[in-house]
Amino acid sequence: MNETARPYYWAFISLCGAVIAVYILFPIFWLFLASFKTRDQLAQLPIAFWPEEPTLQAYRDLFDSGSQSSQLLNWPTLISNSFTVAVTSTIIVVILGTFAGYAFARLKFPGRDLILGGLLVSRMFQGAALLLPTYRLMNTLGLQDSLLGLILLYSAFGLPFATWIIASSLREIPVELEESAMMDGASRLQAMFLVVLPLATPALITAAMWHFVGAWSEFAFASILLESSANKTVTIGLASFVELFTLEFQKVGAAATLVAMPIMVVFFFGQRYFTRGLLAGAVKG
C-alpha cells in the first residue's frame, strides 16, 4: 500500500503499533523495574514508575545464604538444576529426534504415516490429565524427586515435536543428494551424517531452541515430582514466592527476571529459528 497517499495513514499505523508494543512489553518491563525498587517504594501509593533509588539488593538477597528466602531455596542450586535438566533433555531430544526424523522423511516402512500422525496427536494429551498417572509411574520407577526422572519425562514429551520439525525440514532437501553419495559408495548412515544433516542444521537448531525453552519453563510436572530442595528447579523456586507475595515483591521481580533471562537470550539471538518452528508447529499443534 502507498503510505504517502493518505496523510493520516502513517499516524494511524504508528499509533496502533505503539499500543501493541506497549501491551506486549509492559508486563515484563514492569516486573523488571520492580526488581530494582525498594520494599518501601513498592508499598507506596501513588505508584512511582521509576525506581527512586535503583538497588540490586533484591538480587543480593536471593543469593545471600543468610537471608530468609534463601534458607528454603538456594538459587544457585535451582539455576544449576534447571540448566542440567533443560540442556540434557535438549541434547537427547535432538539426537533421537534426528534419527526418527530421518526415518520418517526418507525411509519407507509399513505404518509410517500412521505412526507419525499418532506421535503428533500424542502431544495434545500432555496436560493436567497426565499429572496423577505420571506421578504414579515415576514412583513405581523410583524416579520421583530426581533430576533424571525429569530429564526422561521432558525428553519423552519433547521428542514427537522435534521429530516432526526435523522430518518436515529433511523432506525439503533433495533426495538426489544422498542417492548420488550412496552411488559413490557411501552407506546410508554416512550419507545421512555427511550429506543431509549439514543441510538440516537450521531445523536442528529450531528443535533444540524449542525444547530448551519448554523444558526451562515447565512447572506442573516438576512441582509434583521434585520434593527435596536440592532437586528443585527455577520455576518451582519462583512459584514458592506466592506466599510472601506483597511483602517481598522486589525479590519476586528479581527471581522472575533471572528465570526469564535465558529465555530472552535464546529468543533474541534465535529470532528467525523461532518463527520457523512456531509456524511449522502451529499447523500440526
Partner: protein, 295 residues
C-alpha cells in the same frame, strides 16, 4: 538399495520416540483410565470395576462450578484469542517497518515461562498496589481500586484476559502469515469494483484464510485446555474456588487432598473432552493430512 534393511533401520531409528510416547503418554493415559474405575482409599487400591469415582465426582458440589469455569476458560478464551488475534494479525500484515519489527517482538509473551507471566500479571492486578487498578482509579474509571483476582465475579474473566496476552501472539502471527499470502490480484480486483476496506476484508481476505482460521481456533482450544500453571499460580483456584478449572481441580484433588479417585475421574473427563477436540482438529485438518502424508 535394500528395502528390507531400510525397513529395519527405520524401525530401529524410530524406536526411542515410539517407546517414549508409549511409556510416558499412552501408558499413563491407560493407567489413569483404569484408576478411575478402581476404588482408591488414601492411595491404596481396593478393587477394580466401579463407577464410584465418577459418582463421587458428580456429587461434588464443585463439579458444576468447575465445568462452568472451564467453559468460560476454554470457550471464552478461544473466541477472544481468535478475535484479537485476527485483528492484530490483520494489522501486522500491513507492509511497514513498524509491523516488521512487531512481528518479531510479538512472540515474547509466547516464550515467557508461565510462572513469570503469572507473577507479572498478579502484580499488575494487585488489589492495593496494582498498577492497573490504581490507574483506573486515578483516571476516574472506578471509585475504588478493584481487586480483580479477589472478586469471585471477576476472577475468571481476569484470568482469560491474561490468557489472551499469553496465547494471542501466535494466533496473530499465523493469521498474519495467512493474510499475507492472499493473492494481491483478488484484493486489487475488489478494490476496482468499489469495495471498501471492511468489505475487502470480509469478502476477500476471510474466505481466503478460512482454513487457517478454523485450524487455529481448534488448536487454540487444545492449548488453552492444557494450560495449568498460569491460573494455578495466579489464584490457586480461588477465591473460594471461583476460578477452579479442570486442570487446577485435578492438581488440587491429586496432590493436596490426595483424593485420587475423584482426581482420576476428572482426568478421564478431561481426556474425553480433549479427544473430542482432537477429533475435531483431525477432521478440520483432513485435507492437510492427506496431502502432507504423501509429500
Amino acid at each position: 538399495m535394500n528395502s528390507s534393511s531400510d525397513r529395519w533401520l527405520a524401525y530401529f531409528m524410530i524406536l526411542p520416540v515410539v517407546a517414549a510416547v508409549l511409556a510416558f503418554v499412552i501408558g499413563p493415559t491407560w493407567d489413569v483410565a483404569t484408576l478411575s474405575l478402581t476404588q482408591v482409599v488414601m492411595g491404596q487400591e481396593r478393587g477394580f470395576g466401579t463407577l464410584g469415582n465418577f459418582r463421587a465426582l458428580a456429587a461434588d458440589p464443585m463439579f458444576t462450578l468447575v465445568l462452568k469455569n472451564t467453559a468460560i476458560w476454554i470457550l471464552g478464551g478461544t473466541v477472544l484469542c481468535v478475535l484479537t488475534g485476527l485483528a492484530v494479525g490483520a494489522f501486522l500484515a500491513i507492509d511497514s517497518k513498524m509491523t516488521t519489527g512487531l512481528r518479531a517482538l510479538i512472540l515474547l509473551p509466547w516464550v515467557m515461562p508461565d510462572v513469570v507471566t503469572a507473577m507479572a500479571w498478579k502484580w499488575m492486578l494487585h488489589g492495593q498496589v496494582g498498577v492497573i487498578g490504581s490507574t483506573m482509579q486515578s483516571v476516574g474509571l472506578t471509585e475504588q481500586q478493584i481487586s480483580f483476582l479477589g472478586d469471585p465475579d471477576l476472577v475468571m474473566w481476569t484470568l482469560v484476559v491474561v490468557l489472551i496476552w499469553r496465547k494471542m501472539p501466535l494466533v496473530a502471527l499465523i493469521l498474519c502469515a495467512a493474510i499475507r499470502s492472499v493473492p494481491n490480484e483478488q484484493i486489487e480486483a475488489s478494490r476496482m469494483d468499489g469495495a471498501n476496506a471492511f468489505e475487502r476484508f470480509r469478502f476477500v481476505v476471510i474466505p481466503n484464510i478460512a482454513f487457517s482460521l478454523t485450524a487455529v481456533t481448534v488448536i487454540s482450544m487444545i492449548w488453552i485446555t492444557a494450560e495449568f500453571a498460569l491460573p494455578w499460580i495466579m489464584t490457586g483456584g480461588g477465591p473460594a474456588n471461583a476460578s477452579q478449572i479442570m486442570s487446577t481441580y485435578i492438581y488440587q484433588q491429586s496432590f493436596e487432598f490426595f483424593s485420587w479417585g475423584v482426581a482420576s475421574a476428572m482426568s478421564v473427563v478431561n481426556l474425553v473432552m480433549l479427544m473430542v477436540i482432537v477429533a475435531l482438529y483431525l477432521y478440520v485438518n483432513r485435507r492437510s493430512w492427506a496431502s502432507g502424508a504423501a509429500s
